[in-house]
């Protein structure tokens, strides 16, 4: 080691001030160069400390062999990470909900009912892997974590995941579908909560998040009846269902007719073809319940 920890510390202090000065001066290049330098200095400092500590008598154990050093998720209320592969966790959660859902919701569902959660940041690469795998060897796996498709252009719906074995009608998303799927998910979550042998706070919190946005579902979080929530969700579902189903059926027919296998699972993307715009805008309105 060429520098002592103390000198390193001073250097880190100076560098940190310099980074802030560079940011204040709107000098992005200098700021990132300095940040790199800072990172190196910090690493050197960590190393120096680690070295110093190994020579000290052991005080507190540093890492008593707990969970793998995976980055923590979004909140302080951290559930342990699961040992299952990510795609299986997502599959579990999706199968519980039975409708396309966003990664964040899936992570919460998994935490509530499978006692572990996953970092949502990794989902993007999972989706890419699934598509690559399918394109290399179609239908080689029993299921794929795939996209939900927009009903109008059959493009991947932003931020939604689905399961390849689901019928196309369930995987296409029209304007009313987010609401319909929310209500369907609420019914499934209520049922799952009812099945729990003893109350799980994370599950109750999740159920309340659904119940709070459904008319007549529950007064407050302390007094929730899963059956009443399911009934309320069912009641609102009745209002939207036929219009939504119609849109989805029509879109699913188009998808099956127009798209190849991979596109049916992962959607088709629109090029920046401006001439198609007028056509599209019209079609956006077409699928609605009539």
């Amino acid at each position: 080691m060429s520098e002592s920890a103390e000198i390193l510390e001073q250097r880190i202090g100076r560098l940190r001030a310099a980074v802030r000065q560079a940011v204040l001066a709107a000098d992005k290049d200098r700021a990132s160069a300095l940040r790199r330098e800072l990172k190196q200095a910090e690493q050197a400092w960590e190393d120096a400390l680690a070295q110093a500590e190994t020579t000290l008598p052991a005080g507190l154990p540093d890492s008593p062999g707990t969970a793998p050093s995976q980055g923590p998720p979004d909140g302080p209320r951290t559930a342990p990470a699961s040992l299952l592969p990510l795609r299986e966790q997502i599959y579990q959660a999706l199968s519980l909900l039975t409708v396309p859902a966003a990664p964040k919701l899936l992570a919460t569902v998994h935490e509530a009912f499978f006692a572990s959660t996953f970092p949502t940041a990794k989902v993007t690469s999972l989706k890419r892997d699934e598509e690559r795998s399918f394109r290399t060897a179609p239908f080689a796996r029993p299921y794929y974590v795939c996209a939900a498709l927009t009903a109008d252009l059959l493009a991947p719906a932003r931020g939604l995941l689905a399961v390849s074995t689901w019928p196309m009608e369930r995987r296409v998303i029209g304007p009313l579908s987010p609401r319909v799927d929310f209500l369907s998910a609420a019914i499934q979550v209520a049922a799952a909560v009812e099945r729990l042998p003893s109350p799980v706070p994370a599950a109750s919190r999740l159920l309340w998040r659904f119940a709070a946005s459904i008319p007549g579902a529950a007064q407050d979080a302390a007094r929730m009846d899963p059956r009443q929530i399911a009934q309320a969700a069912e009641a609102e579902l009745q209002v939207h269902q036929s219009a939504d189903s119609e849109t989805r059926r029509a879109a699913a027919m188009r998808a099956r007719a127009q798209l190849d296998d991979a596109e049916q699972l992962f959607g088709t993307r629109l090029g920046a073809a401006a001439q198609r715009v007028g056509h599209m805008a019209g079609r956006g309105g077409q699928g609605r319940g009539e």
Partner: protein
């Protein structure tokens, strides 16, 4: 390209025009009397960069914590087909249960190009007015445009347009809290004027299709976290005042020619970048170019304008730098040194001249101050 556009392009130089958003347009109402700001904004110049390059970087930045919190709150409100928002709209506006559709306009068929998004936005909005029964209810991330200084600017949207009975309302999600029904008045004011920008842009979009302005309500909806929780709560904002102010400032910006005509020919704020993009122009020279356009500095600029420290430095020695009120109390005299000469009586203006009355006022003040402190001013 018109003469004005060419002129503005030359002022901007090789830099790309800065993208406008509701915030930057709202800022136009912040100090409308400032020619420097008007010219830089009309030209789409990067004020932040220019100010920093002359050695006066803007004193504001954004904390990542604030950004994260803002994004997280917005995502929460819009999650699951904007389920939480729907709850609020049902409670706040008695939205009927069947009105629950949600269109995300942030992409068109997986493509996020502004042209596509704008075209689709317009299509859907117009349809919503003409066929309200079968059109959508919530439109997330509609991409709108507004003419700023003769150029159409895309507005980076962070709003939801909400349609009920053929009338639209603008919904803005902000992450500052409403505690016991009260929120920071300046933050609400900023939200109100930004909402007004969207109302204006929505009205413009519909007007092109012959739909009257009443199709967009002047009552907008502000969604904020309630008290110390993450629970969203809604408040109505009447933005009629903000609309008037904006319309007036935008129309003045459209008449930027008058300001341009007073500028020396050949003036540019180009940084003269080399092939690697490194500026070669001397900062002092750029500063000189900026000084060719008159500024109207007031301390309030410190909260709103990227050029503020540059202008403040330039305004040193002027009474305006001490505050509008102070200048007024000093009889409107422009320079500190002049005011003090008048106060001390070392400069006595002619009777009836512009400064005569101010001199009387200042001499009295100096006499009273000396009297109370027992020492000459």
């Amino acid at each position: 390209m018109t003469g004005t556009e060419a002129w503005l392009a030359r002022l901007r130089g090789r830099a790309l025009p800065v993208r406008h958003n509701a915030r930057t347009i709202a800022a136009l109402a912040g100090n409308p009397g400032c020619a420097r700001r008007a010219v830089l904004d009309a030209a789409g110049a990067d004020k932040h960069r220019l100010a920093a390059y002359t050695g006066f970087p803007a004193p504001f930045g954004l904390s990542r914590f604030a950004i994260t919190r803002g994004n997280a709150f917005e995502a929460q409100v819009k999650a699951s087909g904007a389920a939480e928002l729907l709850r609020i709209l049902r409670e706040h506006l008695s939205l009927p249960i069947p009105e629950a559709s949600y269109d995300d306009l942030s992409e068109v068929g997986g493509n996020a190009s502004p042209e596509l998004r704008h075209a689709r936005t317009r299509g859907l909005l117009a349809r919503a007015v003409t066929h309200p029964a079968e059109a959508g209810t919530m439109f997330d991330h509609p991409l709108l445009t507004l003419r700023v200084g003769g150029r159409a600017a895309y507005l980076e949207p962070d709003l939801i347009a909400f349609q009920l009975g053929g009338q639209f309302r603008v919904i803005e999600v902000k992450s500052f809290p409403v505690v016991d029904g009260r929120a920071d008045g300046d933050k609400v004011a900023a939200a109100a004027i930004q909402s007004a920008v969207y109302v204006l842009a929505l009205r413009d979009a519909l007007a092109e299709q012959g739909i009257p302005p009443e199709a967009v309500s002047h009552e907008t909806i502000l969604i904020c976290p309630e008290n110390f929780s993450n629970r969203p709560v809604a408040a109505s904002l009447d933005v009629r005042k903000q609309l008037t102010v904006l319309r007036r400032q935008l129309s003045r910006l459209a008449r930027i020619e008058d300001l341009l005509a007073q500028l020396p020919p050949g003036l540019t704020f180009d940084l003269d970048p080399d092939d690697a993009g490194v500026p070669r122009r001397r900062p002092a020279e750029l500063a000189e170019a900026l000084r060719q356009v008159e500024a109207r500095y007031a301390p309030e600029c410190l909260n709103t304008c990227e050029m503020c420290l540059f202008c403040r430095d330039e305004a040193r020695g002027g009474t305006a730098a001490l505050g509008r009120e102070v200048r007024d109390d000093l009889g409107g005299v422009e320079h500190v040194a002049t005011a003090l000469r008048l106060a001390r009586g070392t400069s006595v203006p002619e009777r009836g001249s512009e400064l005569a009355e101010a001199a009387d006022l200042l001499r009295t003040a100096a006499r009273l101050r000396a009297d109370a402190l027992g020492e000459a001013v």
